[in-house]
């Protein structure tokens, strides 16, 4: 009983948005929504918490900046402070303008790549991963809302049929 879910299919994102609002108002728990493309405002309608990826990226950028700075400080100033074309390698600050392009690129590199990897890990994406879409049409032109069953199944089915759904199915989940 408890591992039953309802799959409700729609063929329009506006109808989906309306249905999400109604579902939330009726206090049904939305497990997941599958859409073929990003639906603007869907996360807000579902009440999903905002992403923190941007904060991660900022911190990764700081890491990149530190790596670049300490690397060049050690190599160019500390380890072997050679005179290369008259550039002042007595202290980091004196030769800093020459290091800025690297500092900038490393900041961007770390921020971008580590954030992307974080995104893959958090959304569990990798090569050879089995696809999880419950209905192949959701990658093309259908929108699927998966709702946990609680209480009377028939009543829930009729509720979702009233939300302009094109199809309502009760599924046993393993």
């Amino acid at each position: 009983m408890s591992n039953k879910v309802i799959h409700v299919l729609y063929n329009d994102d506006d109808i989906l948005m309306d249905a999400v609002k109604k579902t939330r108002a009726a206090h049904h728990h939305i497990e997941e929504i599958y859409t073929p493309f990003p639906v603007h405002g869907l996360d807000k309608a579902m009440g999903l918490a905002p992403t923190r990826l941007a904060i991660c990226a900022f911190l990764y950028g700081l890491v990149g900046l530190s790596v670049a700075t300490s690397m060049m400080w050690f190599i160019m100033i500390q380890d072997w402070p050679q005179d290369i074309g008259g550039k002042p390698s007595f202290s980091y600050i004196q030769n800093m303008p020459a290091f800025v392009p690297v500092m900038f690129e490393m900041t961007v590199f770390f921020a971008a790549h580590l954030m992307v990897i974080t995104f893959y890990m958090r959304s569990k994406l990798w090569p050879f991963k089995d696809a999880e879409n419950p209905d192949v049409r959701t990658t093309d032109d259908h929108f699927l809302m998966e709702v946990a069953v609680h209480g009377d199944v028939d009543q829930m089915v009729s509720f979702f049929e009233g939300t302009h759904a094109v199809e309502v199915k009760v599924i046993e989940k393993h």
């Binding site: 008259g86 303008p97 020459a98």
Partner: protein, 509 residues
């Protein structure tokens, strides 16, 4: 319709009056003769402190000249035989002079006394050759005092010029932003068009004031533009070679043409924008679209030339190719910041019904992005010159780093580090007080940017942000507020029939 609150009007007038007092004071206290300069120097020495690191190197060089020679007489034979090669003698003389300098400084009780490289060089050369020529020293001293007199006389003029130029360019920056929004058919910004139009209203009085200042320069009333001085040009081959471009007539014609073109577009666009409100079709909107596209082409050409004329030519021996873009970025971000701040003010007074936090968010994103763009150009210009270190280019930054260290690097913190750290956050970009704080710092930072572009060439190390500078800022700020808010009362704050106005009213991000 907006009504100009009497309190704001009074505030603007108070600013103007205080500004005039400050400007008047600085003109009144500027030295008139060389004797005045010597008095100032003597006073500074009597008080045992320097206005800045400079104060009176010539005096010291003059006063210590005899000591140097005495010291040399003692030191040179002790260190080297009399028949040493000339190069060695010069070398040792350099060393002795340095040490004597250091001693003299300690004896005089000056802390952190940092003598001018030029003067030091003169003293070295003199010491090395062993000439004991009191006349040469006196001439040198006289020339130095004259140089200082010119710098101090330039100070009040430069203060007015920097503030006048900065305020006019803010208005031009807002106008350029307006033209871009029109030409790009931006859907978010039409609710802000009347604010932008009002800010660009300052272009008319602002440009006239700057033009008058340029004409006064051509009439030799001030010496901000050194190439306008025939006596200087007579001895300067580099400026002579540029006189086909840098001559007073052509300079004033160019300025009139550029300012005329900008004002023409501003008046035309404003007229069409108001006519569109009463119209039955979109013909005025289309006219504005075409005019804006044309203006942007005209603008980018004239803006570039304007930056050579009015800013780069104060250093007629120096040139930089990306200077036009750099100046553009500086006043463009200031213009956008001003739009954001005036929008927030009007919104807080309840005049802008349809402006929401998403509009503010967009403006804040522009402030953020163009601040980074400015930094990119600032750094590119600095780094390319620093890296290659070609003497004829690098003097520009050498004087700035030596004499303007705090303003030069302080503005990078104000124009880059602070806005980037505070405006990177999405939620912060929607908070009025954050945008106003960031905006204040950005505007102050870009004033210092213009200060750094003009002052080193006109007043050199005699700079100070005192009564004249602050007075000029206050005066032009008051005038700016008065003109802009008067313009706001002339038309409804919402453009009625702009084809994109509905989209703009419902804009959310």
């Amino acid at each position: 319709m907006y009504t100009f609150s009497s309190r704001l009007k009074t505030f603007a007038f108070v600013l103007m009056v205080l500004g005039i007092l400050g400007i008047g004071y600085s003109f009144f206290t500027a030295p008139k003769t060389i004797e005045d300069v010597e008095k100032i120097v003597a006073e500074e020495q009597a008080h045992g402190h320097h206005g800045d690191a400079h104060a009176a190197p010539a005096h010291d060089a003059h006063g210590s000249a005899k000591e140097e020679h005495n010291a040399e007489a003692h030191a040179a034979p002790a260190e080297k035989p009399a028949d040493t090669a000339h190069a060695v003698a010069v070398d040792s003389a350099h060393k002795t002079t340095d040490s004597v300098h250091a001693e003299a400084v300690v004896a005089a009780g000056h802390e952190g006394h940092d003598h001018d490289a030029h003067e030091g060089h003169e003293a070295h050369a003199e010491a090395a050759h062993g000439h004991d020529d009191a006349h040469a020293a006196h001439d040198e001293h006289h020339k130095h005092m004259e140089h200082m007199l010119h710098q101090l006389q330039n100070k009040p003029w430069s203060a007015v010029y920097v503030a006048a130029l900065f305020c006019m360019l803010i208005s031009l920056g807002a106008l350029a932003f307006y033209a871009i929004q029109n030409a790009a058919s931006a859907g978010w910004s039409p609710v802000l068009f009347r604010v932008m139009e009002a800010i660009s209203a300052y272009l008319v009085p602002g440009a006239i004031i700057v033009y008058v200042l340029l004409v006064l320069g051509a009439l030799d009333m001030h010496h901000i533009f050194i190439w306008m001085d025939e006596k200087v040009v007579a001895h300067d081959h580099l400026i002579q070679a540029k006189s086909g471009y840098l001559n007073k007539t052509f300079f004033l014609i160019r300025a009139a043409l550029f300012m005329g073109g900008w004002i023409l577009y501003r008046q035309y666009a404003r007229k069409n924008s108001l006519a569109q409100d009463e119209s039955n079709d979109n013909s005025y909107y289309k006219k504005n679209f075409k005019a804006s596209a044309g203006f942007l082409v005209f603008f980018i050409v004239t803006e570039s030339i304007m930056s050579w004329d009015w800013i780069m030519s104060v250093d007629p021996h120096w040139y930089s190719t990306l200077f036009g873009w750099y100046v553009f970025a500086s006043f463009f971000v200031s213009g956008i910041t001003t739009i954001a701040m005036i929008t927030l003010y009007l919104k807080s007074k309840g005049y802008l019904e349809y402006v929401n936090t998403s509009h503010i968010h967009d403006l804040a994103k522009f402030m953020f992005g163009i601040s980074v763009f400015w930094t990119y150009l600032w750094f590119s210009q600095f780094m390319l010159i620093w890296y290659a270190d070609i003497p004829e280019e690098v003097t520009y930054f050498k004087t700035r780093i030596e004499d303007y260290n705090l303003p030069f690097f302080g503005m990078v913190a104000m124009n880059f580090v602070f806005p980037v750290l505070i405006l990177i956050n999405t939620d912060f970009k929607r908070l009025s007080w954050i945008v106003v704080t960031a905006g204040t710092v950005i505007l102050a930072g870009h004033y210092i940017d213009f200060f750094n572009m003009i002052m080193p060439a006109t007043v050199g190390n005699q700079w100070f942000i005192g009564a004249g500078e602050i007075g000029a800022i206050l005066f032009f700020m008051g005038l700016f507020i008065f003109v802009v808010f008067t313009a706001l009362t002339k038309a409804p704050l919402l453009a009625k029939r702009n084809p994109l106005i509905e989209e703009s009213k419902h804009f959310h991000y």
